[in-house]
């Protein structure tokens, strides 16, 4: 009878799951899968990425689809958990029969999904910033976010130009923070700068005063924070209370107008290295990405009545890449066809840089334009630094 229970449950599971896929498959549609953490610790990335994904799909279908093909979105929440993400990707491939998958947004998940995508031969456009996902390039995996290497280099070079070569860093004990710490340390060495002290904190910690005091004793010239909120806001407030006067440079992890509200006075005069989406209205008209960034920022704000996060760009560029690749295909769509279309060369100005996908570049950004810019907070506003 145990076997009966066992089989019964599996059959029940199968019946319930199968219900979802018994729809007619139309030749004239693009089945577009989307995977991101809309709950769990990585939801800060996934939530706004999902919103912009929904927005763009709606726009395509209102305009008659992509190249006449109706876009059928299928989205799942990965909870930021690589096991769940792996399950959801298999479901997208097998049950939902999608043509291409956009996501996931964290490195841990992407490393697991990469092997599945290659085994199942489905194009996977990840929204992560880790170079090892696409270097060396594998046939089906691409990414859109600027690499952590580029961003950390940008922060360090800025500090070096200011003459701050003795640096302290504080990073969160999660995937985002640990990757940042690794690249900051590696690049500082290359630039001949010194990381005098590297501190960490738990992503749910409530008080970072002990770390701030240690950093104050270390006699550093600048402090770099690599984490997402609420950590950096708490650090800025602790630093203000402790009279910590050293210049502070935040990573794009906090690049959101919410920082101005939440950190308030304690964010004054600090710097943020950010993708252009944070300041769509401050970009000079000469900036080649200005039209793209301003357009999506305006539409996003109009639809959701909330400020854009910089992570919106990761999903925007991924969906844009799918659009351009699909438009290149005249006959019936196939997974291989989409992957090959991308590898045969797709270039466009994205939110995260001048994108130039090719057989050898699966990472997107070409090297001519930095994907990030430095801003400073002055009188409660972001201004170009």
């Amino acid at each position: 009878m145990d076997r009966r229970q066992f089989l019964g449950t599996m059959a029940g599971a199968a019946a319930l799951g199968l219900g979802k896929i018994s729809f007619a498959q139309s030749a004239n549609e693009l089945r577009l899968g989307f995977l991101a953490a809309t709950s769990g610790p990585a939801a800060f990335l996934g939530a706004s990425e999902r919103l912009v994904f929904d927005l763009m799909v709606e726009q395509y279908n209102a305009a008659g689809g992509i190249g006449g093909r109706k876009v059928v979105p299928v989205t799942y929440d990965t909870e930021g958990n690589s096991t769940v993400a792996a399950q959801q990707l298999r479901r997208l491939i097998e049950s939902d029969k999608v043509d291409v998958v956009v996501g996931p947004s964290t490195t841990g998940e992407a490393l697991v999904l990469r092997t599945i995508a290659e085994e199942s031969k489905i194009p996977l456009i990840t929204m992560t910033g880790t170079e090892s996902i696409v270097v060396p390039p594998t046939p089906y995996v691409f990414k859109t976010a600027p690499t952590d290497r580029h961003v950390s280099l940008h922060m360090l070079q800025f500090a070096k130009e200011k003459g701050w070569t003795n640096i302290g860093i504080i990073t969160s004990a999660d995937g985002f923070g640990q990757a940042g710490a690794t690249y900051l340390k590696a690049n500082a060495e290359k630039l001949g700068m010194k990381i005098a002290l590297a501190e960490e904190f738990g992503p749910r910690d409530t008080d970072m005063t002990p770390q701030i005091l240690r950093l104050r004793r270390a006699g550093i010239q600048a402090l770099m924070i690599w984490s997402v909120n609420p950590g950096p806001t708490i650090i800025l407030r602790n630093a203000e209370a402790a009279g910590f006067k050293t210049p502070i440079i935040n990573s794009f992890g906090v690049a959101s107008p919410a920082l101005l509200e939440q950190a308030g006075r304690s964010a004054e005069n600090t710097y943020v290295s950010t993708m252009r989406l944070l300041i769509p209205d401050l970009l000079p008209a000469s900036d080649p990405l200005q039209p793209v960034v301003a357009k999506i920022a305006k539409e996003y704000r109009a639809k959701y009545n909330q400020p854009v996060t910089t992570f919106v760009g990761n999903a925007h560029d991924a969906v844009k890449l799918v659009e351009l690749a699909v438009k290149k295909i005249s006959g019936p769509l196939s997974r291989d066809g989409i992957a090959n279309a991308i590898k045969s060369g797709v270039s466009f100005p994205g939110c995260n840089g001048m994108m130039a996908y090719s057989a050898t570049n699966h990472g997107g950004q070409d090297d001519t334009l930095s994907p990030v810019v430095m801003v400073q907070i002055k009188n409660g506003k972001f201004v170009p630094a």
């Binding site: 089989l7 599996m10 792996a86 004990a173 995937g175």
Partner: protein, 319 residues
């Protein structure tokens, strides 16, 4: 004595049916998605069987099995990648290392009971998680963690088939060992301890040693499960082994039924399959999942396995 033997025989027939069941499902399931759900259920079932032995039979609570699960995953990965040991032997390493640590820790920790033991094991899981995230020269931390584990494509079968069968075989062996142990002297000693440690020691049971062995076995089972988990995903990081994993394993054995090892297998399946069925609830998924757990415990306080078994028997009697 005769009845004990016949129950053992019945259990081994069930074990045979489990093998047949896995084989049928492997052929019947056309989707890799369902096959991977089955594989993960089998993998977690191994850890759950060990935990049932510890909690259900020896009466010792543990909310720290995630630590041994993770230790097994890292030991196997280390054995394969740094020492060049083949993956099958890696499974042995993944059983021995956590088993050994489990035995060492068991002596002091199992002097505790009730809430203290629950907290001590929870603390173990928390400490393990911190070490796994920080000792990045060995574990790779949270980013990137362990990557590039080999694909197991033996006998011309694909990776997922091989892992499915590997997990199935390990589960059958581990369950068989557990059943034999429960049926023998060791099992009677465990049950004596569960009833009263004082009485057990009066009847000549070495209480501390018996408990430590049960703890070590549970740790070894969790280690094997962890190694298979790593093999299956081929890349993993410390976030997989947070305190939530230990609580999930605890949920599996309680939801399944603590009174029988079959409950553990059933519970693992339930906990792995349930979230997939709730996908349609979208943002309300967590709320519905929590309420489902509450409903299960309200309607079947002894676990799904035992309650369903009773239902079936009752119906049979009625017939």
């Amino acid at each position: 004595m005769k009845s004990a033997n016949s129950s053992l025989r019945r259990n081994f027939i069930r074990l045979g049916l489990l093998v047949v069941g896995i084989a049928v499902l492997d052929v019947a399931l056309t989707s890799q998605f369902y096959r991977s759900t089955l594989t993960l259920s089998l993998i977690f079932a191994i850890a759950a069987v060990g935990l049932t032995l510890l909690m259900g039979f020896a009466g010792q609570v543990s909310i720290g099995q995630g630590a041994f699960f993770g230790l097994g995953a890292y030991s196997a990965a280390f054995a394969i990648q740094q020492l060049g040991i083949p993956p099958l032997v890696g499974l042995v390493v993944a059983a021995v290392v956590p088993g050994f640590f489990g035995y060492l820790i068991a002596r002091p920790i199992l002097r505790l009971s009730g809430n203290n033991l629950a907290l001590a094991t929870l603390a173990l899981a928390a400490v393990f998680y911190v070490v796994a995230t920080q000792w990045s020269s060995v574990t790779g931390g949270i980013d990137p963690g362990i990557t590039g584990l080999p694909a197991l494509d033996y006998f011309g079968l694909s990776h997922i088939h091989v892992v499915l069968w590997l997990a199935g075989i390990c589960l059958v062996i581990c369950t068989a060992v557990a059943l034999l142990l429960i049926d023998g002297r060791f099992g009677r000693a465990l049950m004596a301890i569960k009833t009263s440690e004082v009485v057990a020691s009066c009847t000549g049971v070495d209480v501390a040693r018996t408990k430590a062995i049960a703890f070590a076995i549970a740790a070894a089972y969790a280690g094997i499960a962890g190694a298979l988990f790593g093999y299956f995903l081929r890349a993993f990081n410390a976030t997989s082994f947070n305190v939530g994993l230990s609580i999930e394993l605890l949920m599996m054995v309680i939801v399944g039924s603590l009174s029988t090892v079959w409950g553990a297998i059933f519970g693992a399946l339930a906990i792995m399959v349930l979230p997939n069925l709730l996908e349609g609830f979208d943002h309300a998924k967590l709320l519905v999942y929590g309420l489902a757990m509450v409903a299960i415990m309200m309607l079947a306080p002894n676990g799904l396995g035992e309650t369903l078994a009773k239902l079936v028997t009752r119906r049979r009697v009625a017939e």
